[in-house]
């Protein structure tokens, strides 16, 4: 039996959840899951290319954090595994799918691809393909909120930034450098580590001297919390606390969400190193099933209502594919467009 780190316990009774909120969380996670399943299908059918990293299994983190924020107003920064963060941030599924198809209607106009989803409108600062490089960018966005409020007298500038990255990024200098600066200047930011245990084939324990990442916050005098990343209500609760802290000007939080990717690193990864036992341990903790059970047990939703959400999302995904397929390719005459701001 594989030895797993003890997941922090969380009592759903300790959190307030309305029916409406519960269904919204469920819908967002279903959207993430169905979207990624469709991506795998489309990739194998030759509709999308390059490196495609899917988010299956980690949905509770994206949904729990971003739904605790003000989507479209607060900032979100992602990695190469960015489709679902984009969706949670409000980028329409059809725009994300069209980007994967390389179409002109994609959120990055077909210039970015799977690892480079951007949306100014939805305050998605982007998918960054080099490990940890999004951390400084997100830190800069958080600095901007503070700057506007303190130097430009903009009282409405209370935006928070959520910066997502993985366990692999936490051994990179940019992680430590930015934690230092964010704590030093009390920046309104959430550093959200999605610790899925594996940096491609490098097991987390083989890469780091202190596997409990949230503890690294303490040396910067900043809040650090670990959370069961397979429980959306637990993630949402720590995110709400972190967001409140950030908006109050009390500085950043490092959130370590213990999670697992249900697929390989990318669709090109043979996934040969992770043991069957380990996978089974985590598959049994599917965050979507967990929320569904909670909603039905607490009489917040019926099976029928959940089914309706699933059908609605399936339809949305099918429409996204149709949209992507029928969208035009980028105009070859615009090959040079977007290099400079005036283009």
């Amino acid at each position: 039996m594989v030895q797993e780190r003890t997941l922090p316990t969380f009592s759903a009774a300790s959190t307030q959840l309305s029916k409406e909120e519960g269904l919204r969380l469920y819908e967002d996670m279903i959207l993430g899951r169905y979207f990624e399943d469709k991506c795998a299908e489309m990739y194998y059918r030759g509709k999308m290319f390059g490196f495609v990293h899917l988010y299956n299994g980690q949905e509770a983190v994206s949904t729990g954090v971003i739904q605790a924020m003000r989507p479209g107003e607060d900032y979100v920064c992602s990695t190469y595994r960015d489709h679902v963060h984009a969706l949670s941030a409000g980028v329409p599924a059809k725009q994300v799918m069209a980007e994967l198809f390389g179409k002109a209607t994609g959120c990055s106009k077909g210039r970015g691809g799977s690892m480079h989803m951007f949306s100014q409108e939805h305050r998605l600062l982007g998918g960054y393909a080099f490990v940890a490089e999004g951390i400084p960018v997100a830190t800069g966005a958080a600095f901007q909120s503070k700057y506007r409020r303190e130097m430009m007298g903009d009282e409405s500038a209370d935006q928070v930034t959520a910066c997502f990255f993985g366990d692999g990024a936490c051994n990179n200098g940019q992680f430590f450098e930015c934690l230092n600066m964010a704590a030093l200047w009390k920046l309104p930011i959430l550093y959200v580590v999605e610790n899925n245990k594996w940096a491609i084939g490098m097991a987390h324990e083989r890469a780091t001297s202190q596997p409990e990442i949230y503890k690294k916050a303490s040396v910067f005098g900043m809040a650090g919390v670990e959370v069961d990343g397979m429980d959306v209500l637990a993630v949402r609760q720590v995110a709400q606390e972190a967001v409140a802290r950030a908006r109050a000007g009390e500085g950043p939080t490092l959130i370590e969400a213990l999670t697992y990717r249900f697929r390989g690193h990318s669709l090109a990864d043979p996934d040969e190193l992770r043991s069957k036992d380990e996978k089974e341990f985590w598959f049994a903790r599917d965050p979507i099933k967990k929320l569904a059970a909670h909603l039905t047990e607490q009489d917040l939703a019926s099976q029928e209502e959940l089914k309706q959400i699933e059908q609605k999302i399936q339809q949305e995904i099918d429409e996204a594919v149709k949209f992507a397929e029928s969208s035009p390719e980028p105009d070859p005459n615009e090959l040079y467009r977007y290099i400079f701001a005036e283009d």
């Binding site: 970015g112 600062l125 982007g126 966005a141 958080a142 901007q144 130097m151 701001a341």
Partner: protein, 327 residues
Amino acid sequence: MAETLFFNALRAAIDEEMARDATVFVLGEDVGHYGGSYKVTKDLYKKYGELRLLDTPIAENSFTGMAVGAAMTGLRPIVEGMNMGFLLLAFNQIANNAGMLRYTSGGNFKIPMVIRGPGGVGRQLGAEHSQRLEAYFQAVPGLKIVACSTPYNAKGLLKSAIRDENPVLFFEHVLLYNLKEDLPETEYLLPLDKAEVVRPGKDVTILTYSRMRHHVLQAVKTLEKNGFDPEVIDLISLKPLDFDTIGDSIRKTHRVIIVEECMRTGGIGAELVASINDRLFDELDAPVLRLSSQDIPTPYNGALERLTIVQPEQIIEAVEKMVALRI
């Protein structure tokens, strides 16, 4: 402004732009309390506060990336590289993030930021402090690269760079900070994409930039006495190259000598030669000649350092040979 030192011209540009636009701020090592290693931001923190003259920890990649994030969200950061060579540590943020992100995002974000500081070979500073990053960065799409060379153009160009909607790599030169010049009392801006005809002439076009402009002008004094009439062009914009001005000159002189401080291999001159061949080959009466720094890490020893970079006497010799011997 009366006679103004180079570093004060830069300071005035930053001061004026910060007063004009509340989104403009400076970040980097020792830009606040210390006033910048070459005093370009001296005492500005007293006027604008510590957030607008942000002293950062020594973390070039992270504070440069932060500036990109701030620019994406509507501010106008000026990153000071204490020495431009240090920004090799921020190569990823300058290339992937500042340079390419607008394109990669399909035009979602613009990145109005300036990355400025002292570049070039100083006096016996050793290899690491004697970098010419303009050559390393010229291949990055989305960057504008500017090299200033006088107090007058430093001020006008820096103001334009700060107002530009794109990332601008702005090179000063470590040995030019104490130059003096009378500057206009009234505000002025200079275009980032225009080369400057420093001295009109008819015999040969000398293309140069940054400190080498002054080596060239020193050589020109002797050349004039010896009866030569070279045209001297300060490129100013290293990317994009101003082929209107360059082309006009070559169509007149039909001969080109490039004088640069960057290394020969993969340098600004290499790109110039290739572009001149592409566009103006039929105008040339002789192969383009490149005078560049040696392809070696800049040595500490003063005599070896002198041998590494182009000296005025080499420029004199090159012009005389090319013009007098008709080669």
